[in-house]
């Protein structure tokens, strides 16, 4: 019997955190111990693959026997022997551990272009990438296309910058090509700073070669011989895999001098960020590579004219570069037809928060928001009521239920007061407080403001102070108007995108959820029972069984009572941490 068995184990950051390395070695041990290869004459390999974008079900394991795939979820190392024995040796999958319809639904309703290799190939093996057509596009671009031809294909594909602003990529490359200079740079922006967005991490960890290939093509198109990948400090695994990929590319002659045997030279380096959100802004990022404080500069020139070390620089986002090889291979028409009239292709969103299926979702631009949340995301966790979806991270806004049917692209999101941004989507339900959410984002931008320009440095601080007092029950009449006034000034007068968009979360929540602000200010009440200073925890005596579970876990020793009699919370000691609320099995603790 000749069987080919492949075991694929997710080893992205999410997978590793859930224990995938132990699962991998358990499979490897089982293969070695049972001598599977010898007894059954099977070719059996266990290999690591990147993130499949469905991290809440990690560790995910695919077992493919003669092309037939079975996927297991929540795999732990101690489950491996049974899976190995029943499925691999005897041929009967362990049905109770396999994924259900929600998993298949989640993937089938997507259209994967950028993520097509993530979770399928071993990111540390260049031959795995080559086997799925890798580096064919770069070879074609280097050996048989002129820079003008490449620029033309990218322009016609309608690809727009996936970092957030949506600038047409082809146009940017054309500018880079036209400028004459002895030195030009290509930079990949992997400083994915938006909290709640992780598609770039997934691509860098799961398919690093596609980013490098996109950069090689860009280098040829713009006549650049040196490139940098700027990766944020918080992504050590991405740095490791990219470095491995760059090293093997050097060995194969895909990077360095005379690549693919041509007379074209291109070399790449990784630059590790040191932890500053503002470095996601192009000019700040370049200052950072130069070894300076990463502060943005006024946009007197386009980066394509004067960028890194004052040389022409083409800078694109990770996802943008990863799209390029596919466009070169499949043609611009194919890509353009995937999206809407104004923006071609697909976009990866990271759907998180109070939704059943959290993970990475790749869909063609123009699909309705509702499709992403309900069809792919599976609806709201615990079947609670949907309240809003926050898109675009700290620069974006909250979109309420009434706009769930908009078709997602750069323009439509802007129309309802939000932005596409890097593609973060956080679903909020009835238990989320909108004032608290706005405050969370402003806290973030205020902390990450580099301090160079006054409107951003001081304006965000003042706005945060007002939001803070509103959530503490100390809001005053006129605070809402003051917030709006400050927001206008900050938007108009800030130096870079960080400041210009910082008021968005406040403005959009004010637009759709003004009543929640008013409840905090006038009634000193948090409708969603989230803001700590506005809620109290009490024990309902008629339900309390006196089990003592709450008393045991209270970190402030604020709960009094003897066994089997109703307990009481001493409000003067209570720190409102909510530990008791979680600990009570009888739901006797009230939060209001």
């Amino acid at each position: 019997m000749d069987k080919e068995i492949v075991i694929k184990i997710c080893t992205g950051t999410g997978g590793v955190a859930s224990g995938s390395e132990k699962v991998l070695s358990a499979f490897q041990n089982a293969i070695a111990a049972t001598g599977t290869e010898a007894t059954f004459n099977e070719r059996c390999t266990a290999k690591k693959v990147g993130c499949r974008g469905f991290c809440s079900k990690d560790v995910l394991v695919d077992i493919i026997i003669n092309g037939e795939k079975t996927t297991y979820k929540h795999v732990k190392a101690d489950m491996v022997p049974r899976i190995f024995d029943e499925h691999i040796v005897k041929g009967n999958p362990v049905a109770e551990w396999t994924v259900g319809d929600d998993y298949h639904n989640f993937h089938q309703k997507q259209q994967k272009v950028v993520l097509s290799h993530c979770g399928e190939i071993d990111p540390e093996d260049i031959d795995a990438y080559i086997a799925v057509g890798g580096y064919e596009a770069a070879r074609k671009a280097i050996l048989s296309m002129s820079p003008e031809e490449i620029v033309d294909v990218v322009k016609k594909s309608n690809l727009r910058g996936r970092g957030g602003a949506g600038f047409p990529t082809g146009l940017k490359w054309e500018l880079g090509l036209r400028i004459r200079s002895d030195v030009k740079y290509v930079i990949c922006n992997g400083d994915e700073g938006d909290p709640g967005a992780f598609m770039d991490r997934s691509v860098m960890e799961g398919d690093p070669h596609s980013v490098i290939e996109g950069m090689i093509i860009c280098a040829k198109a713009t006549g650049s011989h040196k490139g940098y990948i700027y990766v944020r400090a918080e992504y050590p695994l991405a740095v490791k895999r990219l470095q491995m990929a760059i090293d093997t590319c050097h060995d194969r002659g895909f990077l360095g001098n005379n690549i693919f045997g041509s007379d074209f030279d291109f070399d790449l380096r990784i630059f590790q960020g040191a932890g500053a959100f503002v470095c996601g802004e192009a000019t700040a990022l370049m200052r950072s590579i130069e070894g300076k404080r990463g502060m943005p500069s006024p946009k007197m020139w386009r980066s394509a004219e004067k960028g890194l070390w004052d040389k022409p620089t083409v800078l694109n986002n990770v996802e943008t570069f990863a799209n390029v090889p596919r466009i070169i291979l499949n043609g611009s028409t194919w890509y353009r037809n995937l999206g809407t009239e104004r923006s071609g292709g697909t976009k990866v969103f990271s759907v998180t928060g109070k939704v059943k299926n959290t993970g990475l979702v790749e869909v063609p631009l123009g699909v309705p928001l509702r499709h992403i949340i309900y069809e792919i995301g599976g609806g709201i966790e615990g079947d609670k009521a949907f309240k809003a979806i926050q898109t675009g991270g700290p620069s974006g806004g909250c979109i309420p239920a009434e706009h769930l049917d908009i078709e997602v692209d750069y323009e439509s999101l802007a129309q309802v007061g939000s932005i596409m941004g890097s593609g973060g989507m956080v679903v909020l339900d009835e238990t989320s407080c909108m004032v608290n959410t706005a405050k969370f984002f402003l806290e973030f931008t205020q902390e990450e403001s580099c301090g160079k320009c006054t409107p951003c440095r001081i304006g965000t601080k003042r706005m945060l102070e007002i939001l803070d007092r509103i959530t503490r029950g100390k809001g005053r009449e006129g605070d809402i108007e003051l917030l709006e006034e400050l927001a206008r000034y900050i938007r108009a007068a800030s130096l870079c995108g960080l400041g210009m968009t910082a008021p968005n979360p406040v403005l959009s929540t004010l637009r759709y959820f003004r009543h929640e602000y008013e409840a905090h200010i006038r009634e000193k009440r948090c409708p969603a029972a989230v803001c700590r200073d506005l809620i109290t925890y009490t024990i309902r005596e008629e339900i309390c069984k006196g089990c003592g579970a709450c008393k045991k876990v209270c970190p402030a020793d604020a709960i009094r009572g003897t066994r089997k009699t109703p307990h009481k919370i001493d409000q003067s000691l209570c720190v409102k941490c909510g530990t008791c609320f979680d600990a009570c099995k009888f739901l006797s603790i009230m939060k209001a």
């Binding site: 955190a17 469905f54 700073g193 938006d194 990271s350 720190v575």
Partner: protein, 153 residues
């Protein structure tokens, strides 16, 4: 120390380094940025120490004071925030008795810090305990980790 710094200097010269990469190497080696190391480089390279400190205080990766032997980093990205990371942080600060406006215990056993997002949003809330990423963190799981660390100390 001199010898270690010399190595960092060589690495800087061989790899077209800059102030950021020097500071990254120092932080990696010592766990923080000792003042003496900055003075040493400032003299060797004839770059004012203020430029080093300017960069060091700009980026969150650099620390000017020694940190705890155990480092617990709680992610407070949006997804983690929505799933209750603030409660994890508050509980840790109470449990480990960390003074107000500080992030390290006086005996330097523990440092508790926040990070803006480590991009593991699918398994939020997330905490990194001594470089190991833990997903779906609950107060219970967190306290178990803390007790384990306290025992080994």
């Amino acid at each position: 120390m001199e010898e270690t710094l010399q190595k960092i200097l060589e690495n800087y010269r061989n790899n077209e380094g800059n102030i950021v990469t020097i500071l990254q190497d120092i932080e990696k080696t010592f766990g923080y940025i000792p003042e003496e190391a900055v003075t040493w480089f400032s003299k060797k390279l004839d770059i004012p120490a203020s430029r080093f400190f300017g960069v060091a205080t700009f980026y969150s990766q650099f620390h000017l004071r020694p940190r705890g032997r155990n480092i617990i980093t709680v992610c407070r990205g949006t997804a983690c925030h929505v799933k209750g990371s603030e409660r994890l942080i508050n509980r840790l600060l109470i449990e480990l008795d960390i003074p107000d406006d500080e992030d390290t215990t006086p005996d330097q056993k523990f440092t508790v810090e926040k990070v803006n997002c480590i991009g593991a949003c699918g398994i939020a809330p997330v905490a990194v305990v001594n470089h190991e990423v833990h997903g779906k963190m609950s107060l219970d799981k967190m306290m178990k980790e803390v007790r384990k660390l306290k025992k080994t100390e």
